[in-house]
C-alpha cells in the first residue's frame, strides 16, 4: 500500500481534489463541506509525503497512460514543483478550515466548495505537469475556477471584477497557446524533457517564448498588466482572495520559471530577462505607492500583492548569469513565493474576519482593533513582518538571498530596489497596524451585523499561516533543501 501510494503520488494529488469536486457538487447541501474537508485532509499529507519523497529520492517522474513523453503526457515533481504543491496544500487546508465557519451552510455560498476543490486540483495538476500543452489546459482550469470564485458573492463589483479577470485570463491563455503552437512548430514536441534537449534560440522558438511570456505575465498581473488584480482580489470573498493572492498568481509564475530557467535558458533570449526585472522593480515601487493610497483594507492588501509579485520577477535577471548568484536568486525567488503565499493568505483571512465582524474594512475605521479582535490583529501584524521582509521571517530570508544574488552577480541596483521595497512595505503595513492600537474602539460600528467574537478556527487559521511565514525565517533550511532538489542546471550552482 505504502509504496503504491509512493508510486502514484503525483496522480493521487490531482485525482483526490478532482474527485472530491464533482461529489461536493453532487451531494450538495450538508455534505459538500465534509467532502471538502475530507479531500483537504487527504491532500495535505499526500503533498507532505511527496515533498519528503522528493527530498529523499530526488525528482519524481510519472508517465500517464504508461506512454511517457513525447508521445504521452508526463507528470514531473522536482523540488520546485513539490514546494509549490506543498504550500498549496498548507494554505488550502487552512483556507478550507477557515471556510467551514466563514461560509457556514449559507445556500448562496454552496458553490464555493466544488469550485474551490476544482481550483485546488487544477493547481496541483499545473505544478506537476511536464507538458506545455497540458499546462494550457491546467491554466484554463485554474483561471476559470478562480473567476467563478471571484463572482461567488454576486455583488456587482465582484461580477464586473470577475468579468475583467475572465477576459484577461482567456486572452492570456490564448497568447500562451499560440506560443505553444510555435514551440511545437519549431521543435516538434510539447514535452518539456524533450524540449530541454531540442530547444534552440531561433526566431520561431523565441517568438513562441515571447508569446507565452506575454500571456503568463498578463495572468500573473505583473505591472503594468495588474489592472485586473486589485478589483478581483479585493471584491472576492476573503477566503477566495486569500487563495487567489497566495496561489493562483503563482501558478502562471511557475510556468514562466519553468520555461525560462528550466526549458529555455535566459541567455538564449538576451534582453528579455532584463525587461522582466525592470517590470518587477516597477511593480514593487508602483504597487507599494498605490497601497499607500488605498482607503480600504482589502484594496491595500491587493495592491501589496501587486508589489510583492514584483520580487518574483527579479529572479530572471538575477539567475541569468548562472553560478552561485543564480542559485541564491533561485532560492530567494521561490522562498519569497512561499512566504508571501503564507503571509498574504493570512492577511486576507484576517481581513475577512474584520469584514465579517464590523461590516466594513475602511482603514480609518479600524481603530482599536487590537482590543476588539486581538488574535485577528496579531495575525495581520505578524503577516506584516514577512511583507516588510524583517527578520525573523521567510520574507527576510528571501530578500536576504535576492540581495546576495544581486550583489554577488554585480547587479547591485536590484538590491537597492529590494531594500526600498521593504521600506515602502513597512510604510503601508503600519498605515494599517498603527490604528489597531488606537484607543477609540467605537470606530468599529457595532451594527447588528457583528456576529460576535470570531470563531477560533478562523482566527486560528489566519494566525497559523502568519506564524508559518515567521517560522520559515528561522527553520527554513528543510524547505531550502527541498527547493534545491533537481534544480535546473542553470541555478543548481553550489547548494547554499
Amino acid at each position: 500500500m505504502g509504496d503504491w501510494v509512493t508510486q502514484q503520488l503525483p496522480a493521487l494529488l490531482i485525482l483526490v481534489p478532482f474527485t472530491a469536486a464533482p461529489f461536493a457538487y453532487l451531494l450538495g447541501a450538508g455534505y459538500d463541506r465534509q467532502t471538502a474537508l475530507l479531500s483537504a485532509a487527504l491532500t495535505q499529507p499526500l503533498a507532505a509525503f511527496l515533498a519528503l519523497t522528493v527530498v529523499q529520492e530526488g525528482p519524481v517522474r510519472y508517465a500517464i497512460g504508461g506512454w511517457g513523453g513525447p508521445l504521452g503526457i508526463e507528470l514531473a515533481a522536482d523540488g520546485f514543483s513539490a514546494t509549490m504543491v506543498l504550500v498549496t496544500s498548507v494554505v488550502g487546508l487552512l483556507v478550507t478550515v477557515y471556510g467551514l465557519r466563514y461560509f457556514g451552510d449559507l445556500e448562496r455560498y454552496r458553490f464555493f466548495w466544488p469550485l474551490w476543490l476544482f481550483l485546488w486540483g487544477s493547481l496541483n495538476a499545473l505544478f506537476l505537469s511536464a507538458d506545455i500543452f497540458n499546462l494550457y489546459v491546467c491554466l484554463e482550469l485554474v483561471s476559470m475556477s478562480a473567476v467563478a470564485l471571484v463572482g461567488l458573492t454576486l455583488r456587482r463589483e465582484a461580477l464586473v471584477a470577475a468579468m475583467r479577470y475572465m477576459l484577461a485570463a482567456i486572452l492570456g491563455s490564448l497568447f500562451y497557446l499560440l506560443g505553444v503552437a510555435l514551440f511545437y512548430g519549431a521543435f516538434g514536441s510539447v514535452d518539456m524533457a524533450t524540449l530541454r534537449e531540442t530547444v534552440r534560440p531561433d526566431v520561431a522558438g523565441q517568438a513562441g517564448l515571447a508569446l507565452m511570456t506575454a500571456g503568463l505575465v498578463l495572468k500573473t498581473a505583473l505591472f503594468p498588466l495588474h489592472f485586473w488584480l486589485p478589483p478581483a482580489h479585493s471584491n472576492a470573498a476573503s477566503p477566495v482572495s486569500a487563495v487567489l493572492s497566495a496561489l493562483v498568481v503563482k501558478g502562471s509564475f511557475f510556468i514562466l520559471v519553468r520555461l525560462w530557467i528550466d526549458v529555455a535558458q535566459p541567455e538564449a533570449f538576451p534582453g528579455a530577462s532584463v525587461v522582466l526585472g525592470v517590470l518587477g522593480s516597477s511593480a514593487i515601487v508602483w504597487g507599494s505607492v498605490q497601497a499607500l493610497r488605498q482607503e480600504r483594507l482589502k484594496m491595500l492588501v491587493a495592491y501589496s500583492t501587486v508589489a510583492q509579485i514584483g520580487y518574483l520577477f527579479l529572479l530572471f535577471p538575477l539567475a541569468s548569469g548562472g553560478g552561485q548568484a543564480a542559485s541564491d536568486a533561485w532560492v530567494g525567488g521561490i522562498f519569497h513565493a512561499v512566504s508571501h503565499a503564507l503571509a498574504k493568505s493570512a492577511m486576507f483571512l484576517a481581513a475577512g474576519i474584520v469584514l465579517a465582524r464590523f461590516g466594513h474594512d475602511r482603514l480609518e475605521g479600524l481603530g482599536g482593533l487590537s482590543r476588539r479582535a486581538p488574535v485577528t490583529a496579531m495575525a495581520f501584524g505578524l503577516a506584516g513582518v514577512t511583507m516588510m521582509g524583517l527578520p525573523p521571517s521567510g520574507g527576510f530570508i528571501a530578500k536576504w538571498q535576492l540581495i546576495k544574488a544581486s550583489i554577488g552577480s554585480g547587479q547591485w541596483w536590484w538590491a537597492v530596489v529590494v531594500v526600498a521595497g521593504g521600506l515602502l512595505a513597512a510604510a503601508y503595513m503600519f498605515r494599517v497596524v498603527g490604528p489597531f492600537f488606537a484607543r477609540e474602539a467605537e470606530d468599529l460600528d457595532d451594527s447588528d451585523l457583528d456576529p460576535g467574537p470570531s470563531p477560533v478556527t478562523m482566527d486560528g487559521a489566519a494566525l497559523a499561516l502568519a506564524l508559518g511565514a515567521l517560522v520559515l525565517g528561522v527553520a527554513g533550511q528543510p524547505l531550502i533543501d527541498l527547493i534545491m532538489v533537481g534544480a535546473p542546471a542553470l541555478v543548481a550552482g553550489v547548494t547554499p
Partner: protein
C-alpha cells in the same frame, strides 16, 4: 487610442507572421510515434487515439473544464441550480409537435455518432451535443418541466461522465498501472464506457447551461442584497 491599438496589433501581426514563416518547412513532430503506437491504443483513428489514450489526460482535464464551467454558470444563475425553470409558459402546438417527433430521432443519431467516433471523426461530444439540442428543443416547446427530473438527477447527470472517467483512471492505477493506463485488451471497452457516460453528461451540461442562463432578471435581483 484606437490608432495606437491598431498600430500595436499590426506590429504583433507582422512580427508574428515573421515568426510563423521562420518555422522549419518540415517538422515530423510526434506523428511517427503515434503511427507506431496506434495499434496499442484501442482505437483506429489516430486523432481519437491521441485524444482518448495517448493524451487522454488532456481530455480528462478538458471534461473537468466543462463540468467546472457548468458549475460556474449555475453558480451565477438566478434560480436554484439544477431546477428546470419555466421557459415558455405555453409553447405553440407546431413547435411541440415537431419536438415530439424529432427528439427520439436525435437520440438515435447521437447513438450513431458515439459509435462512429471509434474509427471516424465523432464521439461523445458530437453525440452529447445532439441530445443536448433535443433537450433544448423540448425545453423551448414547454415539455421542460417533467416531474421525474429531480435536482439531484440533473446534478448526477452533469457530473457522472467526469466521475466515471476519473473512476477508470483510478481503476487503471489500482490495477497496478499508472493513471489512465489501459490494458490494450480492455482499452476499447473502457473507452466506449467512458464515452457513453460522457455523452450523457455533455447532453445534461448543454441543457442545463441553456436553462440556467434563461431565467428572468427580477429573480436575479432578489439575490443580490446585503452581502459581506
Amino acid at each position: 487610442m484606437r490608432a495606437a491599438a491598431l498600430a500595436l496589433c499590426a506590429g504583433v501581426g507582422v512580427l508574428l507572421g515573421r515568426a510563423v514563416l521562420s518555422m522549419p518547412e518540415t517538422e515530423a513532430g510526434v506523428a511517427p510515434l503515434i503511427e507506431a503506437n496506434l495499434a496499442a491504443s484501442g482505437v483506429k483513428n489516430p486523432v481519437t487515439a491521441v485524444l482518448l489514450n495517448f493524451r487522454g489526460y488532456d481530455t480528462l482535464l478538458e471534461i473537468a473544464v466543462l463540468v467546472l464551467a457548468t458549475i460556474g454558470v449555475l453558480s451565477l444563475s438566478a434560480s436554484k441550480p439544477g431546477t428546470w425553470a419555466p421557459v415558455a409558459a405555453q409553447a405553440d402546438p407546431v413547435l411541440s409537435a415537431l419536438a415530439r417527433f424529432l427528439a427520439p430521432v436525435m437520440v438515435l443519431v447521437s447513438g450513431y455518432l458515439l459509435w462512429a467516433g471509434e474509427h471516424a471523426p465523432g464521439g461523445a461530444f458530437q453525440a452529447g451535443s445532439v441530445i443536448g439540442a433535443a433537450g433544448v428543443l423540448l425545453a423551448l416547446s414547454g415539455y421542460a418541466r417533467p416531474a421525474w427530473v429531480s435536482r439531484f438527477a440533473l446534478r448526477a447527470a452533469i457530473s457522472v461522465g467526469f466521475i466515471v472517467f476519473l473512476g477508470t483512471a483510478a481503476g487503471s492505477m489500482l490495477a497496478g498501472g499508472t493513471l489512465l493506463e489501459y490494458p490494450p485488451e480492455l482499452a476499447k471497452t473502457l473507452i466506449i464506457v467512458v464515452e457513453t457516460w460522457l455523452t450523457v453528461s455533455i447532453a445534461a451540461i448543454l441543457i442545463s447551461l441553456f436553462i440556467a442562463s434563461a431565467s428572468p432578471a427580477e429573480q436575479l435581483r432578489r439575490r443580490t442584497e446585503s452581502e459581506w
